[in-house]
Symmetry: C2
Subunit: 116 residues, 2 copies
DNA sequence: GACCTCCATATTCAGTTTGGATATATCCAA
DNA sequence: TTGGATATATCCAAACTGAATATGGAGGTC
């Protein structure tokens, strides 16, 4: 068996977590991922190019993402597109679930005024 | 003015974030915080002593936590107790809110099967 | 076509952040 | 009183990250 339990691979590195989140919405190319991460966090999070391309390499080696063909109508041939794999989605789901539990506990302590 | 907008201080370092979360439930001493963080994450997150005491020092300097008296009936005089300050709670709330938005977006993409 | 600017990937390097090892002292139980 | 567990604290190497830099090609303008 090779990692039957996703929990053994948690916690995800913050960069990996946010890249997976961005890709969960559909395939994207490198810089498109960085833009998505920044937008999804209201500009609070940024992803430097070093972290970005290094993380993508690692994640590909680990089977979390795959290279995929550019979408229909894509003009720029330089862009390399990535999509999340079933394994990546499984891991992302585990991390989201875990994190949501932490935030739920915080809400129960009235850290935030109310539930969204 | 000294940091009117909490957003300027986001994102919190992961360690600081989780320490604030642990303290949002009430005052705790150093190792008690580490235990709380580990328990709240189902054993996924750990806090090494280096990160723990270094973070507490920084957070005290930044006004996020304060030393406080041991609770009634506390036997061990070695324990140093900390409580979250209003400023710390303000910052924690901002970070929780931001993070919840990210998770909400993930849920809308069916990353997780359903809402808790 | 020549030029210029912007975009995209990629690598390098230095700074930040972290965990583990180590140190010191004290508490508690046998 | 002896030993093991607990608690704070410091140090160091490893992990992780962002910014600077490099390279090359795309697309627009004249």
């Amino acid at each position: 068996m090779s990692h039957a339990d996703p929990k053994d691979r948690l916690p995800l590195k913050p960069a990996v977590f946010h890249i997976l989140l961005a890709l969960s919405n559909g395939a994207r190319h490198g810089l498109g991922i960085a833009d998505e991460v920044e937008a999804a966090s209201d500009g609070v999070l940024t992803l430097g190019p070093g972290t970005l391309y290094r993380s993508l390499d690692e994640m590909r080696r680990d089977g979390l993402v795959e290279r995929t063909a550019p979408p229909e109508g894509e003009a720029d041939p330089r862009r390399k597109f990535y999509e999340i794999t079933p394994e990546g989605r499984r891991l992302l789901r585990a991390e989201v679930t875990r994190y949501q539990r932490v935030l739920d506990a915080a809400r129960d302590r009235d850290v935030v005024p109310e539930r969204a």
